[in-house]
């Protein structure tokens, strides 16, 4: 029943305007079936499904999920804004999450982040959340603990996990974005 994408194929950039295919509907139905007691439990699985399909969760996604689960839109939006993994705006085609939590910070994740930011030519607007390059190719944000503190610093590039990402490795990873 797994409908998992292969690792490394995550879509981060959207657009959300794509077609809602019958395959997507089928996947949604399968996910909802996992919660025979309460369909509301399927909100997060459907949010993941939508985000993986369309890159982010805009009003169209919120409303589609609310309708599917007979919920009010606010009940879906409450979750989109609570869980940091969900995004309401498209990210870059290659999205980097750098762990900033203590063990990674001790391991130099600050330098890794700065290197990535420079390589991607990103400027912070002072707000929380991801920085996205003007061409939509890259985006970068800090993440909290990715649970691999022994191999710090660690990052996620889209859904690929990379460990021991020092400045040199960061440069390679950016270069490897094809």
């Amino acid at each position: 029943m797994s409908t998992a994408l292969e690792v490394g194929t995550e879509n981060c950039a959207g657009p959300e305007t794509g077609e809602i295919t019958s395959a997507l509907e089928k996947q949604a139905t399968e996910l909802i079936a996992r919660y025979p007691v309460s369909a509301r439990s399927a909100v997060m699985p459907l949010l993941h499904l939508w985000q993986e399909t369309f890159g982010y969760i805009g009003p169209r996604g919120v409303e589609w999920i609310a309708k599917k689960l007979s919920l009010q839109e606010i009940q879906v939006l409450e979750l989109v804004t609570f869980y940091p993994w969900f995004r309401q705006k498209p990210y870059g085609k290659f999205h980097f999450r750098v762990c900033r939590t203590l063990p990674c910070a001790l391991g130099g994740s600050g330098k890794t982040f700065a290197k990535l930011q420079k390589l991607m030519n990103l400027k912070s607007d002072g707000h929380e959340g991801a920085m996205v390059s003007e061409d939509g190719r890259f985006s970068l944000e800090y993440s909290e603990c990715l649970a691999s503190c022994g191999t710090a610093p660690v990052i996620l590039r889209n859904d690929e996990f990379h460990q021991g990402v020092d400045e040199k490795r960061a440069t390679e990873l950016v270069a490897g974005c094809k």
Partner: protein
Amino acid sequence: MNPWNHDVAKDELDLVDVQVDGVWLRMPRGLNVVEVAHRSKKFIPHYCYHPKLSVVGNCRMCLFEMGTPKTNADRSPVLGPDGKPEIAWMPRPQIGCATGVTQGMGIRTDSPLVKDCRNGVMEFLLINHPLDCPICDQAGECKLQEYSVEYGTGTSRFVEEKLKKPKNVDLGKRIVLDDERCILCSRCVRFSSEVMKDDVLGFVNRGSHSTLTAYPGKRFDNAYSLNTVDLCPVGALTSKDFRFQMRVWFLKETKSICTSCGTGCSTTIGSREGKVHRVTPRENEAVNSAWMCDYGRLNIHYLDSKDRLHRPLLKAVGEQFPGTWADAIHRAAEGLGKVKPEEIAVVASGRLTNEELFVLKRLVGELGVTRVDMVPHSGQADNFLRSGDGNPNGRGAELLGLSSGGRKFSSWGAEIVSGKIRALLVLGGEDLVAAGIPSSALQKLDVLLFSGILGNETSRLAHVVLPSAATAEKTGSMVNVHGRLQRMTRAIAAPGEAREDWLILRDLREACTGGNSLHSVEDVWKAIAAEVPQFAGLSWAKIGDLGVQLETRSSLSGGNLVKA
């Protein structure tokens, strides 16, 4: 009506011994500690807790020190030198709202730890709260302000930048939200979800950035939305109708009831210098719990409508001219005296109080008039408080024998046209044109007397117009659709020369028949209690602030709205 009633114990007679601040008391088992403190004449401050909503325990203001009885090896309680059980106090404070009392429980509501907890919560709530009390509508009834006096420090140790959140958010037709003032207690969210089943409100974002909102494009407009303004312990939700109008500490509060439909929600009228500024629900489990509908709450603006009748009017040469009360009453009595009793019809209104109706009953009895009825008004009933009966006292009119529920009234139009009815006394401001009697018919009448609050097509045709008082302007009683007898009390004086109906009717009766034994509402009430079987044994005082349930006759058995 409410999914929860935390202020009522499961079994009020199943008592346990509880020590509250050193004093042993008997309290119902399982009753929560906030309520126990309240019943012990102690007070545990709280923001998120409300007896009619689910308990979420998020504000942490009701933290108290809890103890359990020390026990011996055989589980018997350890007794102290005073013979009372000894208590082992827990180091960690507990929330009063979610803690039910058990046998031997110790409660400290004013210990140093408890005060420290409250000081902490107060400081936390204020660090990001704007200091805009001077322009905040909640000022004077704000729990944040109120508790600050006791648990605040007067100075702030917070030197960081305050969080910025949306201000002046237009949530719906009647409500404005200031997110910077919001303390995220979730009362409004719970009310909408649990009581109204209308999930429009919610929190977005996380942590300190959590923000109350409605889904973009969705409006918080349900028929009971303004209850959230009452529930909001701070000035986050304000009523568009009331905001910036009046400081609440200037308001005189008068207990009354809402007369916008047959439910008769208990209300508090807030008035100042002869003007009603707001009406809020007054808790009454037998009628409306703690709620009322937005329509009833806002139905106060007719009080100073341009159509308001301020002076008696008398018709002469086809036009109405202002006159004195003496002339008006004289003209009215004279008119009724010109025709035979069987040629008179009286429109007794379900908008009149029992006292007014009773004086009317005397009048029609003494005149020998038999054509008496009221105009039915139907409203849109919902499954909550709104009744389909638009008459607030239709039941009272029935009990006093002044109503056939509109059955008689339905033939009066034809009887006026045929000349059977020559004089009509219209009370309660009923607009007969709107009720189906064409103005051409009314113009045929020899005598058309009108008493009411607002001018309308009927009043404009009347030979005598007797301006009367509105709900907020009079004292009296009514019986709601479920047979509950309730009182209203005058909050403000009627404008101009308008008078309470019972005075108008008293004078008219005196002028018509010489009958005069009723000098006050209480006198009227005494007579009602003596003469009307359903009111036997009741007195004005006995009705009390919450009213009394009358013996239900078949016509009164509308079912009990409040399901216990």
